[in-house]
């Protein structure tokens, strides 16, 4: 995640100012003020990290890495929590300094990763409080747990770029999870073939979620239902129907709730690389699909005719319609695609992690994916970076609760939700989304 800078131009202040020339002076002054505040905040974080470092040098922090997937060879990186805080403080101070020096022209968003990543590691080390942690597993876990969020965020990006708000990610993922379990279990019983049943299960989940995406588009476009309400309808309805199915069918007939599971895949040659092999190249296929999808979507949104039309529909549908773009068709297509991706993301939860369907198993991941989308400035690569942060938090939290750290699990559990609120509130900086997202479009 070194550049979130998109060819399409996500320069926040630049776009807003050039759109309104008569406000240029005011906007520029505001941008400069915001930049100064941001720089000061980074510096303050740095100073605070130095302060934390001063008292933490005696606490050891040791992270354990495995060399290979097989065998017991491992090595440890032993540092101290104080050192980690020191590094975070330096990183934060560096970015703060850069921000103050460059002013409003500074493209700080990618640098945010430089600030946050060491802090997260330092907090993790401080919470471990001297216990040795298997960092290979934590990093693997972050990539794995980031996957449904990445996919969800891709779906969100597609729909919002087309001008449709998509609150319904959560519900579509939930339905996708449920459908994949039922279809997968049935097909597995009849064919006994794991690969066939998994494929059919995922395809079914994608199809049903795609239909839900079309329903959302239909309600929003044909009946002009407020897109937030339409999304809420799908979220509540998905919760109701999946709970109903679980209690009435899955709970009583466990043969419907034993889907095939997706195991980790060893990529040839690459997975034998020392250290990075176990972390990056022996993950579940979902992770690689998500990464490929990120690249493909970036290409499609910013480098193809369809992508240009998609963005035009979301930014200025009236103008897009005037030049002959069928905005409504674009929106239907985008929401269908978003629904398909949501189905894939939903199927991840039971097939890859839980091994069965449980009530409300998505647990707000759709909303966290929306936060990742906003955090990543509506750009696939940025959204992946944000999803990684959430994934790391999740993975670290799982390890901490296994180790029985003296932090109440309720506190750890609510961390992703609080971060989501913070991100949505734009405390880390306001980003401009597609201008016309959420507004109905009347085709002339």
């Amino acid at each position: 995640m070194t550049t979130t800078a998109a060819p399409g131009g996500e320069g926040v202040s630049a776009t807003t100012t050039s759109a309104r020339p008569h406000h240029e002076g005011l906007a520029a002054r505001r941008a400069l003020r915001n930049a100064r505040i941001r720089g000061a905040v980074f510096l303050a974080i740095g100073v605070y990290a130095f302060y934390l470092a001063s008292s933490a040098f005696s606490t050891p922090a040791s992270f354990l890495f495995r060399f290979f997937n097989t065998g017991q060879e491992r090595f440890e990186i032993a540092t101290s929590v104080g050192l980690l805080w020191l590094v975070s403080g330096l990183a934060s101070a560096l970015v703060g300094g850069l921000q103050l020096w460059r002013g409003a022209a500074f493209r700080w968003r990618p640098w945010l990763f430089v600030v946050i990543a060491p802090i997260v590691v330092a907090v993790f080390g401080a919470l471990l409080d001297g216990t040795t942690a298997n960092f290979t597993n934590v990093l693997r876990g972050s990539l794995e747990l980031a996957t449904p969020l990445t996919l969800g965020a891709m779906a969100g990006i597609l729909s919002e770029r087309s001008g449709m708000l998509n609150i319904a990610l959560n519900g579509k993922m939930l339905v996708g999870a449920c459908v994949s379990v039922i279809v997968g279990s049935v097909v597995l019983r009849f064919t006994g073939n794991v690969i066939v049943s998994t494929t059919i299960a995922i395809a079914a989940a994608m199809a049903v979620s795609g239909v839900l995406g079309l329903l959302l588009a239909w309600l929003g476009i044909r009946y002009k239902v407020d897109q937030i309400i339409a999304g809420t309808v799908i979220n509540i309805g998905a919760l109701g129907i999946t709970n109903f199915l679980f209690l009435r069918v899955l709970g009583r007939n466990p043969e419907f709730n034993t889907p095939p599971t997706v195991a980790a895949m060893q990529l040839p040659i690459l997975s034998d690389l020392p250290v990075v092999g176990p972390i990056l190249f022996s993950l579940r296929p979902y992770v690689y699909i998500a990464l490929v999808m990120m690249v493909v979507l970036t290409y499609f949104i910013y480098r193809t005719r369809w992508g240009l039309r998609l963005r035009a529909s979301g930014e200025k549908p009236a103008a897009a319609g005037t030049v002959g773009i069928n905005v409504i068709r674009i929106r239907y297509q985008a929401l269908l695609l978003a629904g398909l991706i949501c189905g894939l993301a939903g199927s991840y939860l039971p097939l890859a992690t839980a091994g069965s369907f449980q009530m409300d198993m998505v647990a707000g991941k759709g909303f966290i994916a929306l936060a990742a989308m906003i955090f990543g400035a509506w750009h696939p690569i940025g959204a992946f970076g944000a999803a990684l942060v959430f994934g790391f938090a999740d993975s670290a939290q799982a390890l901490l609760s296994v180790l029985g750290v003296a932090v109440p699990p309720q506190l750890l559990n609510s961390v992703p939700y609080v971060i989501t609120i913070v991100v949505v509130a734009g405390v880390v900086g306001r980003v401009r989304g597609p201008a016309s997202a959420g507004q109905p479009y009347e085709q002339g």
Partner: protein, 404 residues
Amino acid sequence: MNLLRSLARRALLPGLSVLSALILGGVGIIITDFDHLSQLGSDPLVAIGGAVSGVFNGYGAMIAGAFGDPSRIATALQTGNERDIATAIRPLTETLVAAMPLIFVGLAVAISFRAGMFNIGGDGQLILGALGATIVAIALQTSGLPSLVILVLAIAASVVAGALWGFIPGFLKARTGAHEVITTIMLNYVAAQIVLFALIGPFLRQAGSSQPISKSMTWVDVPPIVTLPAIRLDWGFVVALVMAGVVSWLLFKTTKGFELRAAGFSPTAARYAGMSAGGSMMLAMSLSGALAGMGGGFMVIGTVGQLSNDLSGGIGFNAIALALLAGLRPSGVVLAALLFGALTTGGKEMGIQTGIPFDLLFFIIALVIMFVAAPGLIRSIWRVRVKPAADVPSMAPSAPAGTV
């Protein structure tokens, strides 16, 4: 006559929405009735007949569970035996008991929608209100204060806690533009975790319980309306009705209420008219949270008697549906809450008697919201001409661009 006709016209759309949703719910029951449908190959008539009668059994149990048996009530009233009367009217009073928090949260949703805020954090505000009331009630257990004083203090605490939890998304929306749908849902999850956390310690926790539930608060109670055994209906219900009147007065007879509604109709226009749209948002969300919290307080002190983290049971979602169904009118909220109260108690009875899961209601409720929000859909399904209500702002205003 004219009044009747206008009432009928007003009720037609909501009525058809509920009816359509119930029919689709019935379809859901039929296609998941595997016991009967598995005979489809050998005996299709019996299979389909059995599945369809399953729907009638289910909805029949729902109606009986919600309203009781009229003839039984009549005979019980004639004999005058307290126990008989109690068992006979219990379904009816349970419907009112279920309607009580629905009125509170329904009003909460209505007030926030009127101000242009799509508050779906009713669950979180309700349960934090309940937590506030529980903490105060348990802290004052040995204080020697009279039960009524503790009650008032506990309800006050629930109002404060709920208002605070409502204020957060209002503040974030006003200051940063964070969309309240995301923040309120996230705050629901956080509230649930807070309640679980609060229930760990010995201060609130029922001694010796493996479940996260609080002590049952026997030393403080909301006074009952009728003193019969096993009847839970209490003055909380009356307070809910009074609050409906208060909200109605506030929204339609005061300047602040006008400002709230103006902010809901058009924040830009309100701003140009010199009103503070942000202030209205924060005020509406705080009021909304206060109402939901008060509902939680009355639930936990009165009808339920102890705090658990699943106290709400989806009231927040029901409240959205009923507030939309009611056209965001406080009087309509009361009527719709009675209907939903009946659905809730009846739905639980349906679950016990026929094994059709209660959660079907959420599906039905989602459909109700969909039909109410898309009147065109109802019109084209039922081929009726109904004018949409004119005096309601476009249900929830369109979100400002770029925040979601």
